[in-house]
């Protein structure tokens, strides 16, 4: 078995590709990341879907999950698990609606469990197993971005690449939800993903630089949409 001491070049890329793959069983397919709430209120259509995704990346995903992932990466590299847990609680508290907290922790708990098994015996496997045990014992909420940050840090994937990878996984998941809500088709989905790539670069750079104290975005309309969504009589997605 190939067990690189650190992940660089193709090894790092392969880890990113695996963890950000839309086929990775993170539960992302069941989330719309706020999109279905906007759709239910008639506030987004095929012409504005790109603007909404950019807004969510810049105002919510970047200051929230992406920043928490970046700060977790540093703490996990130092194996400072108490600090990782503090970041987990901070991110959990920043998610105002219960559907957002529930989606994130259901995903994170399963994700860390799967990766701890898949990466057991390979480089980083012990650190991933350590965090998986924290999550399993419910000493910490287990948010998805925190679990993902631990996985990337443990396997030696650089923080910038880790944040970009997770933001792109987010964008793919959002675009998949847009497709199923008939806001895009298979062609416009790919245009959407190409359009947001430079945005992801900027958002990732900001997240890597943003301090821990600034974790969490300010998106009152998004929070209102989410609050309505979690009480909607009909919905396809968990968020």
């Amino acid at each position: 078995m190939v067990t690189p001491k650190d992940a660089s070049g193709p090894a790092s890329l392969l880890i990113s590709l695996q963890l950000s793959d839309s086929a990775f069983p993170s539960g992302f397919y069941a989330m719309s990341h706020g999109l279905e709430g906007f759709h239910q209120q008639g506030l987004v259509d095929g012409d504005t879907i790109g603007d909404l995704l950019e807004d969510i990346l810049v105002r919510t995903a970047g200051p929230g999950d992406a920043t928490a992932l970046a700060r977790t990466h540093g703490a996990a590299v130092r194996q400072d698990w108490d600090h990782v847990a503090e970041l987990d609680r901070l991110l959990f508290a920043s998610k105002l609606n219960s559907e957002l907290r529930r989606s994130s922790t259901r995903s994170g708990r399963q994700l860390i469990d799967i990766v701890s098994e898949a990466y057991a015996g390979t480089h980083g496997g012990d650190d991933i197993a350590t965090w998986a045990e924290w999550v399993r014992s419910r000493r910490t909420p287990g948010c998805q971005a925190i679990a993902t940050g631990v996985c990337y840090a443990a396997t030696g994937v650089a923080v910038e690449q880790a944040v970009v990878s997770d933001l792109f996984a987010f964008a793919i998941s959002f675009a998949g939800a847009a497709l199923r809500l008939r806001l895009t088709d298979h062609r416009s989905t790919q245009k959407l993903l190409r359009r947001v790539q430079p945005v992801i670069e900027e958002v990732a750079a900001d997240a890597v630089a943003r301090p821990e104290a600034d974790i969490g975005g300010f998106t009152p309309v998004g929070d209102i949409m989410s609050a309505g969504h979690e009480r909607a009589p009909a919905r396809l997605f968990t968020s």
Binding site: A23, Y29, A30, R106, Q110, R180, L236, T238
Partner: protein, 211 residues
């Protein structure tokens, strides 16, 4: 997941009676000394979860029935990425540690639906007579490879021009000895046999795993 928890996956096309079977099975599991919880996978609403809670009021606590959204892909939620269902099951067991039987009811889907072995120990695929007598011959992994194939709504076969004998014969022919059970879930016909067969299949699996 605790090995002592029996996890039953019930899948099949839309409208075949998965919810009715779930509701009929719960009292029988209770009578067998088991403590069931139910996780429904509605496509678009909480309709199934609400229906199960209403029908089983006074039999199991409403908190022991959870609806899970499936992101428009019921087969993904029980096969390719059962993350959300596994998480919901774990949460229910944390909250109600006395539960020893989890029934996962899939959203209505097509003939390609199967349950991940990581999610369900016993996979029950449900057809009904109104699907047409040709349905077992059409095959698909649910029909041919599920642990138990149920043909529900036997009482209406005559009204939908289905020859039940042909349907049952063909089902046995494509399943190479795996069980086929005829039910009328609303009247309870065949449901006790289904419950017994589920438990027997699970106990046989556990016996093999121990050995």
């Amino acid at each position: 997941m605790n090995d002592n928890v029996l996890r039953v996956g019930i899948g099949g096309p839309v409208g075949t009676g998965k919810t009715a079977l779930t509701e009929a099975l719960v009292p029988l599991f209770l009578a067998a000394g088991r403590t069931p919880g139910v996780i429904t996978n509605d496509i678009y609403t909480q309709e199934d979860a609400l229906h199960v809670r209403r029908e089983l009021a006074g039999i199991i606590s409403p908190e022991c029935v959870i609806g899970v959204e499936t992101g428009a892909c019921p087969h993904t939620a029980v096969r390719d990425d059962p993350t959300m269902n596994l998480a919901a099951g774990e949460e229910m067991l944390e909250r109600f540690p006395q539960i020893d039987t989890l029934i996962y009811e899939s959203g209505g889907d097509n003939l390609t639906l199967t349950f991940s072995p990581a999610l369900a120990d016993v996979f029950v695929f449900v057809l009904d007579t109104s699907n047409g007598q040709k349905m077992p011959r059409k095959g698909g992994p649910g029909i041919t490879e599920s642990d138990i194939l149920v043909i529900n709504k036997v009482d209406i076969a005559q009204y939908v021009r289905t020859d039940l004998e042909v349907m049952e014969r063909d089902a046995h022919a494509v399943r190479e000895g795996r069980p086929v059970i005829l039910t009328n879930a609303l009247e309870g016909m065949g449901v006790q046999k289904l419950c017994d067969t589920i438990i027997a299949r699970w106990e046989a699996q556990r016996g093999r795993n121990v050995a």
